[in-house]
Structure formats: structure tokens, C-alpha cells
Symmetry: none
Subunit: 188 residues, 4 copies
DNA sequence: TATGAATGAGCGTTCATTCAT
DNA sequence: AATGAATGAACGCTCATTCAT
């Protein structure tokens, strides 16, 4: 039941927004009463936190697996991470949207926790960029921090428009993005 | 008074969110009463729409000026547009955040209007990319649509992290982004 | 309207208790809606605090008038204070009951305020007892603090049983109490 | 288990009040679940009734023992009863507070029962006063009913302030009270 | 004996909106 | 141009109680 509530909530939060979705809305789609909700969650915010954690924790785990793989180059690792982000929209798109949109509705304490994890993900990418610069895979004159923001921006923004059922697959989009990031769009 | 209400609302909506800001909150900061608000606006949503229009219309106007300037290359136009977006965060950061975050709170009719303008801005960039491809400024094998999403993603995302008072200026960030987009980060 | 709400609330709180009386109960007796209540009071607790203050402040003022009257003896002042307490049940009986029963429902801050005033009333009586002991009106071997508790207990308790429409008037009860307190019930 | 529930409830009801204490609060302190509570009690009110009965029945029994003792004077009996009341605060203070504060939360039927017993206790004191008047122990001109209210008020009120760990013991307080009641505070 | 899931009614509070003045 | 009183619907949440197991 807890899982059912979470799943239905994710769908509703994505469609209508967190503040705009009432507990009543959630339980109505399940045919249960509000009491049932509060049997499983101590507050609406706790449910939101669960959704946030479910998303970011899985992302961090996957990112770790990519970064620990020493057999592939930094370029390839970068591709995998971009692919991870865009692909996650196909699999967990609703959670992704909630993650990026509804942070403001967490309490200060919980927000700190989530921001920490989000920053950790970013710092891991920044470190990868630096490593690639040292190893000669990337140009040595990059501003790693800002380039990282650019890469993550391109990838994360896709939750706003990427349609898993559209013309391009997540892999294609990731390839186009990484190609652009690596080689640039300029004709030499 | 209408302008004063709008200005104070922008600040509040940015800080606390649209749904989380009450009419009472707004009029309290102005020392007037709720009746005054409804003398100038027919609903809270109309105010939100005004803020949205104020932001996107100005952006479209500026974009037009850049695109109509035939004396500069496509590359330069692209730079100007990225700079426009990041720079707008310094000048109109609150409106930018509201624009990207609070679309959901518009009625369907009004949303359509705004989405149209937002898409227009994007299609203008896509057309610029295609023009550059034809003119030989950009590589001819690009997927213009997706590359455009990537560029706008990198630029728009900056409203989430860019701090006008931080280490890098808006111009520097724009330069780093456009350099990355044009030349790529790979060491040849 | 604020006064009307307060008056009706006092009656309801007395009859059913503070926790057991809902805002809905209150506004129903007035034929208005809950919104109206919150237009005048920021919370249910604020209303309770108003009732508490209305009672104790008036009592303290009256007590002060008695104690500042230098033309009457300590004995007479004691009588006036007991009479004040019992008489207040006739006039403000409901408030009195609420005052003694519903302190627990105030927030810590507000409780402190009220307890201070209640203690001030008691300390004023204790001081009167000491003064009477020094002046030779009262026996010199009294434990002023505990005797004060006894006197106030006898008087305050009357809110539990005293019926203004019963056989004895407030003045008679006060006279009987003070006679008992002064002369004792023992036959010498 | 039933006793354990009762004991923990008494402590909670005293601290937070009956209405403000939930069944969940009670079972949480015991590490059991709500079902367990309802296995032993048919309702929250039944539990409250049990607490009331436990207090007043014991008090009535003790009072009876005092009144049946023909070897001591009325004065002494009066002392014993006052001592019984104040002393009960030390031993059963929580129950005492609940008894005086939470009557309102009983159903009409149960309230009648309790009020009867409470009145019985009072009438026993009133009868004692009359007996003392007849026997020449007390002044013959007393209004027995109201004097009784005064005595019980002084004694019962002590649950509001008497601290068993404070400067004066229950016995001392009882002695001071009875001395005041018997001899008065006036210097002859 | 005790649990755990679920209910249903109610609570205090918020808030966008209306409207006579 | 602005106020102040009032509404009504909704919201997050609580809680005594039920009941199959």
C-alpha cells in the first residue's frame, strides 16, 4: 500500500504539482481514505522526501558504478553519465520532474540533505572533467566548474522537453549532446 | 500601484513560490488591503500572467534585435543569445525563476499563449543553427533541434545556480558556454 | 462582532470546555462562517488568551483599588478581596471557570504571562496577611504563605459550586468565609 | 496490562490533559498497539471513569474509617479528613488532578455517578460539622453547608499548588489549615 | 492476547474572492 | 481608489474506533 501511494503520488505530483495535489486527490485515486495515507506517512512532506531520495540515491549509485569502471575513458564515462540522466527520464521521468521542481517544498533540514546529494553528483562530474584534463582527454584550459554546469544543464533540462516516445531515443539524444560537448558545433 | 504590486509579488513569488504566497502576503508588504489588489488585478493568476509576459516579451524583443543584425555572424548571434539569457538572470533573475518554475499555475488558455512564445524563442535559435549550418559556420551534420535543446538547457539551467555576485560574471559564463558549444571540450 | 464572538465563546467554553468546543460550534451560534472568526482572531488560543486577560486584569485592578484604600483595616480589606472573588462568579462566572480550568491550553509564553498575574494576585493577599500580622490585627504566628493558599482556595473553589441564584448571596458567602477565617469555627 | 495502561494513562492525563492525550500516546509509552487498548477498555471514556472511581472510592473508604472512629473528637476527625485530602495529593496527586479537572469528559450517566460520590463526601463533612455544633465542639451559629464548602475548597485547592517535595509537608499544611479553620487568624 | 490496517468524522486554519461602502 | 467585513471551499492532519487475523 505504501508503494501504491507513492506511485500514484508521483504521477499526480508530476501532472499537477506538489502543492496543487491534495492528500484527498491521492487517496481518491486509490479508493482509500485519508487515514490510510497517514498510517503510512507522517506527513505530505515525508512522502515528497521519499520520492526525492528514491530518485537521487539511485542516480548516485549508478553514477558511482560508471566512475568506478577503470576500463573506459573519461570521455566514455562522461557519455554514460549524460546517458544516465536522459535515460532516467524515460524510466523515472515523473520522479525526475518532481526532483527538479519541488525541492522548495521540503523543510530546511531535508532540503539540506537533498542539496548535498545533488551537489555530490555534480562534484563527481566536475572531478571527472578535471581528471580528463589531466589525462589529456580534454583541453587543459577549461573552467571545469562552469563547464560542468553547462553539461548538467543541457542534460537535466531535457526533463522539460524530452519525450521518450518521440523521434529520438534517449541514447540518440545523449550521443548528440556528448558529441556537441566533446567536438563542438563549429566547422573547422 | 499596479507596478508596485507586481514588483513586490515577483520578489515574493521567487522566494516562497506562487502557491505558497498569499494575496495577504503581497498586500502586507505594501501596507494596503486585499481590496486594493483586486482593484488592479482580477485574479492572482492574472498577476502571474503579467509577470510571465513581462519576462518573455522582453526576451523575444531582445532576441529579435540580435537576429535582425546582419552585420554579425551566426556564431556571434549565438553568443549574444546565450549572453542574453544568462545576463537576464542578473537583471531579472526573479522573473526568470518564476517563468521557469510557475508555468503550471497558469490556466490552460494562458499557458498555451506562454508556451507559444517560449517555443518561438527556441525555434528562433533552431533557425539560427540551421542558417549557420547552411552558411558553413557550423558543421553540416548537426541535429539542429536537439542541439538547440542542449544549448538552451545549458543556458536556462543557469538560473538554478548562477550567482551574479559570484566569481564569474554573466559575460564570462556566456563565453565559456559558447566556447564549449562551438569548439567542444575535447583535446584534438 | 469580535465582542459577540468572545461572549458566545465564553458561554460555550464554560459549558463544554475549550478543547471540546470547535470553531464551528462558535460560529454556528452566531450564524457566521469560520472565515469570520479568523478575521478577528489569529487562532483559537488567542481568543482563549483574551478571555483569560479580560478576567485576571479586571480582578487585579479591583484588588488594587481595595489595597490602596488606607481608610479600612486589613480585616476589612481581606473581606473585600474574598467578596471580590466570590462576587466575580456572579458577574463573570463563566470567565472565572475558564480561567481556572483552561490554563493548560495556553502556549508556554502566554501561560507564563497569566501565571505571573495570578501569582501577583496571590502575593498581594500574602502581603496583606503579613501587614495585618505586623499591625496586630492577625495572630503573629501564622504561616502567611500557606494561610493565603487556604483563603484563596476557599474563595476560588466557590466557582465549582456557588450558584448566584441559590439561597445565599455572594455577600453572605463572603461574610461566612471571612468570619470563619477570622474567628475560626471552634467554640471557645 | 490493564493496570499498566491505567497507570501510564494517569500520568499522561495529568501532564497533558484528557482530551489532549491520544490513545496512540498511551500505547506508545507501553510499546503496544491500539488494538491492545481496546481489548481491555471499550472506550477512552471508560478508562477515565476507572480513574475517577479509583480515586473517589478510596477517598470515601478512608473517610468512612475516620468517621466511624468514635474515640476521637469531631475536631480530630475534621483534621484527619483535611489531612486525607492533602495527603492524597502526595500519594495520588495525578489522580486527584484528573478527578477535579476532567469530570466534564464523562458521559452524563457516568458523571451523575461520580457527582453523587463527590457530594456524598461533602455531605459527610457537613454532617460532621453539624455534629460538632451539637456536641459543643463548634460554634452553634455556623452555616454548616457553606462552611463545609470553605473547608473543602481550602483543602481541594491545594492540588493546584501543593508540592510534596516543597518546604511544608502534607501534615504541616493540614495542621495549618485546621488551625486556621478552628481558631481563625484574628488576634483576640 | 494482541496486531495492523483501515475508517470516517471532525478539527484548526488558510485563502482567493466578493461586495457594499 | 481603496477598505473592511465576510464567505465558502478546501487543506493537512488527528484520532477514537473497528475488525479480520
Amino acid at each position: 500500500m505504501k508503494e501504491k501511494i507513492t506511485d500514484h503520488s508521483i504521477r499526480l505530483f508530476e501532472k499537477k504539482g506538489f502543492s496543487e495535489t491534495s492528500i484527498q486527490d491521492i487517496v481518491d485515486t486509490l479508493g482509500v481514505t485519508k487515514g490510510t495515507f497517514y498510517y503510512y506517512f507522517s506527513s505530505k512532506e515525508e512522502l515528497l522526501m521519499n520520492i526525492h531520495l528514491g530518485y537521487i540515491d539511485e542516480l548516485l549509485t549508478s553514477q558511482m558504478q560508471i566512475l568506478e569502471n577503470n576500463q573506459i575513458s573519461c570521455k566514455q564515462q562522461l557519455f554514460e553519465i549524460v546517458y544516465l540522466l536522459i535515460g532516467s527520464i524515460e524510466l523515472k521521468g515523473s520522479s525526475a520532474k518532481i526532483f527538479f521542481r519541488e525541492m522548495r517544498n521540503l523543510s530546511e533540514d531535508r532540503l539540506t540533505q537533498i542539496v548535498q546529494k545533488r551537489d555530490q553528483f555534480r562534484m563527481n562530474v566536475e572531478r571527472l572533467i578535471r581528471e580528463g584534463m589531466e589525462k589529456g582527454e580534454f583541453r587543459a584550459d577549461l573552467n571545469a566548474a562552469i563547464v560542468t554546469f553547462g553539461i548538467l544543464g543541457a542534460a537535466n533540462w531535457s526533463y522539460q522537453w524530452f519525450n521518450p516516445n518521440g523521434n529520438s531515443s534517449d541514447r540518440e539524444v545523449a550521443e548528440i549532446f556528448v558529441e556537441m560537448i566533446l567536438k563542438g558545433i563549429q566547422l573547422n
